[in-house]
């Protein structure tokens, strides 16, 4: 392990423990780490902007490939930045209108053909898959139908509609329970990852010099 790596691991471990200090209560160390993270992430994003957007798509397009059409979106992009100047902020509306309007138009047929219709066709599939498959298909059909009724608020949820929406609510609760279980799993995984760093890289790797 080089000196640079050892120093880096000590710094990383220190910053990790500073962020963990929030568990006890909000404190100056956490605030320090928070603001440091903010500054470093913004500095990183500026580099991404420059090397991955401005250089290949603007500078290279105009200077190297002489594609002067790239000037138009660049000017529209500068209009977006003018949002910071109140008297010129109205210019940004053109840029937003261009890409929000365009993507709204793009989304409609793509989402319909690529997402909505395949999901609908799968729900309304014929029952031709054996008794277990057919039972599952029936549960899916029941679930999708009742959940849609649950979210349909133009009809009052009482009597038959109320009964159907209650079944839908049951399906939603099962799904949210599954989401909760998975969310717990996700958060614990992140904690496991940090502890793996602290134990394997910092304590064992640097302090006790194992596997270095």
């Amino acid at each position: 392990m080089t000196i640079g790596e050892i120093i880096g691991i000590w710094v990383a471990a220190g910053l990790t423990l500073m962020m963990f200090s929030f568990i006890y209560r909000d404190n100056a160390f956490f605030k320090l780490g928070e603001h440091l993270y903010l500054g470093i992430s913004v500095g990183y994003f500026v580099n991404i902007q420059y090397w991955q957007v401005l250089v290949p798509d603007v500078y290279r397009a105009i200077k190297v490939n002489h594609d002067f059409l790239a000037l138009i979106p660049s000017i529209l992009g500068i209009f977006i930045l003018l949002r910071l100047i109140p008297s010129l902020a109205w210019l940004s509306r053109m840029s937003f209108a261009f890409y929000i309007g365009g993507f709204a138009g793009l989304a409609i047929p793509n989402v319909l053909h690529g997402y909505f219709l395949p999901q609908l066709f799968e729900t309304l599939r014929p029952f031709d898959a054996g008794w277990a498959g057919n039972l599952n298909q029936l549960v899916i059909l029941l679930g999708v139908f009742t959940v849609i009724i649950f979210f349909f608020f133009s009809l009052e949820h009482k009597n038959v509609v109320g009964g159907i929406s209650r079944v839908g609510l049951f399906f939603i609760m099962v799904s949210f329970g599954a989401s909760f279980g998975y969310t717990v799993m996700a958060r614990i995984s992140l904690l496991v990852g940090r502890f793996q760093f602290l134990i394997d890289d910092w304590i064992m790797g640097v302090i006790f010099r194992q596997g270095g």
């Binding site: 568990i23 993270y37 902007q49 798509d57 840029s95 261009f98 138009g105 599954a178 279980g181 799993m185």
Partner: protein, 235 residues
């Protein structure tokens, strides 16, 4: 002037929206070129839009320092960290005498060094703190007060046990023999799989279908100028 501030953006949104919508149903080379050019312009625009967020943040912290608002000392830390991180990637620094190489993309360079040992641990730790809070919240607040809450709780517990190796281990030896064939009494893994692939998929699909329809409705409203929140406030 008022026309350019109010009506012109709506006309632009309408024209772009209708053209990109209709383009899908006209599969010619020219319409493909039109889409290619549109998405190329959009990529450059998104880059500048991201820049807006960065400038806004720096402006906020600079004002905090200028007017010495509470906590402005921390804002100095933000700005200094930003300058150092930005310069390590933007400037062709040759730090070979220290052992660093130049260039933003070099894994041995100062920029990636700061990324690896400062950016990554801080961002990872910020989100991992939530693990403690979710464990505490589950213990202190998750109560089976109704049938629906019980369903949520039971489904959550099944997933939490079934989706880790301990779920298979707990019930792998519990079998009953029926007609000479061994069946698992509590096939946790299969129950978890069924729960996720059937009732969960059904509920999520019902929600997704509704969300897609509302997305389409909002897109139509944007194209026809009914939805104008993207223009922001002002005259």
């Amino acid at each position: 002037m008022l026309f350019f501030k109010r009506q012109w953006p709506i006309i632009v949104a309408f024209v772009c929206g209708i053209v990109m919508w209709a383009r899908y149903y006209i599969p010619t080379e020219q319409s493909q070129t039109l889409q290619d050019e549109f998405v190329r312009w959009a990529r450059i625009l998104f880059g500048f839009a991201a820049m807006l967020g960065i400038l806004s943040l720096l402006h906020h912290h600079w004002n905090k320092i200028k007017f010495k608002r509470p906590g402005y000392g921390f804002s100095w830390i933000t700005l200094v960290a930003f300058v150092i991180m930005a310069l390590t990637g933007l400037l062709p620094i040759s730090w070979q005498w220290i052992g660093f190489a130049e260039s933003f993309r070099d894994l041995d360079g100062p920029h990636m060094y700061l990324f690896e040992y400062m950016f990554v641990p801080m961002q990872a730790t910020m989100f991992s703190v939530l693990a403690f809070f979710i464990a505490s919240a589950g213990f202190r607040a998750f109560r089976a007060r109704s049938v629906e809450a019980t369903a949520l709780l039971v489904a959550g517990c099944i997933i939490m046990i079934g989706r880790v190796p301990v779920g298979d281990l707990i019930t792998s030896g519990w079998t009953a023999s029926i007609g000479g064939t061994d069946y698992s009494i509590l096939p946790f893994a299969q129950v978890t799989d069924w729960l996720l692939n059937i009732p969960n998929a059904a509920a999520q699909r019902g929600i997704i279908l509704g969300v897609i329809l509302s997305q389409i409705a909002i897109a139509v409203r944007i194209i026809f100028g009914i939805e104008r929140t993207y223009m922001g406030g002002g005259d």
